[in-house]
């Protein structure tokens, strides 16, 4: 009993004093630091932060260079000689072969028109027209592996195989449930989804900045399985 009484305040004092003690130790270390240890600290800071930020910036998608048009982001210059160093580093790390300006253009969408992220549990209507191109494809582009339990029915539509309205417009239904018309099945049961629209042999690649929202298909959420 006595021993416990004596130990308890002691422990509390130690718990209170820990941050102070750390700060004190750091202060003492700063005061006592030799030139050599300061140089080592500088080098470690430079190498650590530099490498970490370079890795972060070139991991995954392109950090910048995209042109946002509605829900879509166009990447007109990622494959050209004028690509920024970050795009070139991303291409090298992912071993990507980007589309050249004269070949086509890639557009990606990770959100719907309302700005909400595309969710695999929801149903979306991708409706409208595309900019002029000799051929185009709409595909589901990654973000996680495909569910092996789900049979791979269809990964995308090409401009030739799609069913259109009489005025040339089309509606693709991206849904986990079977749908009439152009049904694009969800690749997995849950999680984020990303779409890729590739325009082949298109004059738009040279002037992506002038693309109009109405020239690209709109992505609207029509319901969620909840």
């Amino acid at each position: 009993m006595n021993a416990a009484d004596r130990a308890a305040p002691d422990r509390r004092a130690r718990a209170d004093g820990t941050p102070g003690r750390v700060v004190g130790a750091v202060r003492r270390a700063i005061r006592r630091a030799s030139t050599v240890s300061l140089i080592l600290y500088t080098l470690a800071l430079g190498a650590g932060i530099g490498l970490a930020t370079a890795d972060y910036a070139t991991r995954g998608g392109y950090p910048f260079g995209g042109v946002t048009v509605g829900a879509w982001t166009a990447w007109p210059r990622t494959g050209s000689v004028g690509a920024d160093p970050y795009a070139r580093a991303v291409n090298a790390r992912r071993s990507e072969i980007p589309l050249a300006v004269g070949e086509g253009m890639l557009l990606t969408a990770a959100q719907d028109d309302a700005g909400q992220g595309l969710d695999a549990a929801c149903t979306y209507a991708i409706a409208g027209i595309t900019p002029p191109a000799r051929a185009w494809t709409v595909t589901i582009a990654g973000r996680g592996p495909r569910d092996p339990a789900q049979p791979s029915l269809r990964e995308g539509f090409t401009s030739t195989e799609i069913l259109r309205e009489s005025d040339g417009r089309f509606v693709i239904t991206l849904s986990p449930e079977v749908q009439p018309g152009n049904w694009l099945p969800m690749p997995r049961a849950s999680g984020p989804v990303r779409l890729a629209l590739r325009l082949y042999d298109t004059p738009v690649a040279a002037s992506a900045g002038t693309l109009d929202r109405a020239a690209l298909p709109a992505i609207t959420r029509t319901g969620c399985a909840a």
Binding site: L51, S80, G82, A89, A92
Partner: protein, 198 residues
């Protein structure tokens, strides 16, 4: 200088150094990468036809595992021809068919030229990639009465690759698209002296 001042100086220097390291690393990644498309293309350098990079799934056969594109287009067959211009100019010949075909020439810094089958002359697309010196030589040796169908492109670097893309608009066209990629020939052009002599 106070100890605190020295420490602040060290921290500031470290942050500036971090910025330099960041820029240096980002610029060096394409040069040092061992798994980028240029290095991978090297593997098929000895082939005289395009090396398949992404073969389309046909029927029940899925895409073979040689596909290394991160987000491939499931309707586009991709092939690649690596070139090394120190061995001579690279000639890429493609016969156009019913399927849309495009050729893009990539150097170390990115794609500098692309052409589609709409530029084909009499069903054939002949692309010759050469260095500036080889181009001047070809011009000097050219016969003025001899009309050439070749599209001559001067490459900025000696090494690079040509990408062949064939679009299968319908699933039934996928075997044809795979075959069309394979049918593209990539050969080192004979030196002009040999041609003149023979």
């Amino acid at each position: 200088m106070t100890p605190r001042g020295r420490f602040l100086l060290a921290t500031t220097t470290g942050l500036v150094l971090a910025g330099l390291v960041h820029i240096g690393v980002v610029l060096l990644i394409p040069r040092l990468a061992e798994a980028d498309s240029l290095s991978r293309a090297r593997v098929g350098e000895t082939l005289d036809h395009a090396m398949p990079v992404y073969t389309l799934a046909t029927g029940d056969t899925a895409s073979p595992p040689e596909a290394w594109l991160p987000i491939p287009d499931p309707a586009v067959a991709v092939g690649i021809c690596a070139y090394d211009l120190t061995e001579g100019p690279m000639r890429v010949s493609a016969r156009t068919g019913p399927l849309m075909l495009s050729l893009a020439v990539h150097g170390r810094r990115g794609a500098f030229y692309a052409v589609t089958d709409q530029a084909a002359v009499r069903g054939g697309l002949d692309l010759v990639v050469l260095t500036r010196a080889q181009y001047d030589e070809a011009l000097a040796n050219a016969d003025e009465n001899d009309v050439t169908r070749d599209v001559r492109i001067v490459a900025p670097d000696a090494k690079g690759y040509v990408v062949v893309r064939v679009i299968a608009a319908l699933p039934s066209q996928r075997p044809a698209a795979n075959a069309a990629v394979q049918a593209v020939s990539c050969t080192v052009d004979l030196p002009v002296e040999d041609k003149a002599g023979g």
